[in-house]
């Protein structure tokens, strides 16, 4: 995970579903295909739903790191 260059970081730990996904999606729209977004999110519902929704939209989860009760997700923007 450490060798991936991150182009933007987004903290959605203060958001609840579905704003977690909405905020992530809007941030990804500012990036180019192939660029990477680091998403900081809470365990539980966000961790179950956000990665799944991102995959459904054609993005790739290329890294995950646990950080206490939070998680850091590295998302590679799809087409």
């Amino acid at each position: 995970m450490s060798d991936i260059k991150v182009d933007a970081v987004l903290d959605i730990t203060n958001e609840v579903c579905p704003m977690t996904f909405v905020k992530t999606k809007l941030k990804l729209e500012t990036l180019e295909t192939g660029q990477h977004l680091e998403v900081i999110l809470n365990d539980g519902e966000p961790l179950r739903n956000v990665p799944r929704s991102l995959k459904e939209e054609g993005h790739r989860i290329v890294g995950t790191k646990k950080d206490g009760t939070k998680f850091h997700l590295i998302v590679e923007k799809g087409m």
Binding site: K23, E29, E56, E57
Partner: protein, 269 residues
């Protein structure tokens, strides 16, 4: 694309959709839609377009709110009776979404002013209740190359379609070449309308308007969607571009806008 937190929250259910996203919502926020009539069709259409965040909504109507309108013209409340429909519409819509820029035209739309009115809009949604206006709006949209979202209702039935002759589709005159004589259409006894039928068709028109803004899906071009409330069915009638159409055909003879005579007792939709 610089949404405020309020906008992100307000439009989140659009942004979530893969076909819309932030970019699509941005298109909606920049769209300009003109609605002809703040009546049975214009009301639900305007409510949904304002709620959706359409940047500029123009509404033309020279009528005032009448108690008999309230059964289906859901923009207006009992306390609005006697008020100009366009101002009642403005109040309702700005309460729903203060982000929307509303332009009220409290005037009759005629061959004199229609070009000027529709010039600044991307899309025209026709919610008018009479044939002279329908033909006028159709012809003006044809000359100005504006997409026209058409709808009409009668009793328990309604229909909607999209006219985009500048993109190869038919126009209103391809479907109805001759304007019915003023005495022929429609009698006062035909003014009956089940309220929610207006809602169904107006909402269908709003849907097509947003699809046009977003450039998504298969539009109702060359297809007339016909709703039958009593049987709870939608059927589809193909509409072909008429090569002999007086307006959009190869040998078109209509070169300017015409104000047709209004029927003495036009039904008020």
């Amino acid at each position: 694309m610089k949404f405020t937190e309020e906008q992100i929250m307000r439009y989140s259910r659009h942004i979530i959709l893969k076909e819309i996203g932030g970019k699509g919502q941005d298109k909606i926020c920049k769209a300009k839609v003109f609605i002809m009539g703040a009546g049975g069709l214009g009301s639900p259409a305007a409510l949904y377009l304002a709620a959706a965040g359409v940047g500029t909504i123009g509404i033309a109507d020279d009528d005032v709110v009448d108690l008999s309108n309230l059964q289906r013209q859901v923009l207006h409340a009992t306390s609005d009776v006697g008020k100009a429909k366009v101002f009642s519409a403005e109040d309702t819509l700005s309460a729903i979404n203060p982000n929307v820029r509303l332009i009220a035209y409290k005037e009759r739309v005629t061959s004199e002013n229609v070009r000027e009115i529709i010039r600044d809009y991307d899309i025209v949604l026709d919610g008018s209740d009479n044939f002279p206006t329908r033909y006028l709006i159709n012809d003006a949209c044809f000359f100005a190359k504006k997409t026209l979202i058409s709808g009409s209702i009668l009793r328990f039935d309604g229909q909607a379609t999209v006219f985009k002759p500048h993109a190869g589709g038919p126009c209103y005159r391809c479907l109805y070449p001759e304007i019915p004589p003023a005495g022929f259409v429609p009698s006062c006894s035909e003014a009956g309308i089940l309220g929610p039928v207006a809602g169904t068709i107006g909402v269908l028109q709003a849907t097509e308007a947003l699809k046009e803004v977003l450039g998504i899906g298969d539009q109702l071009i060359g297809r007339l969607s016909v709703f039958d409330a009593l049987n709870s069915t939608f059927r589809e009638v193909k509409i072909r571009k008429d090569p002999d159409c007086e307006l959009c055909g190869d040998k078109a003879s209509i070169t300017h806008l015409v104000d047709y005579a209004q029927a003495p007792c036009a039904i008020r939709i």
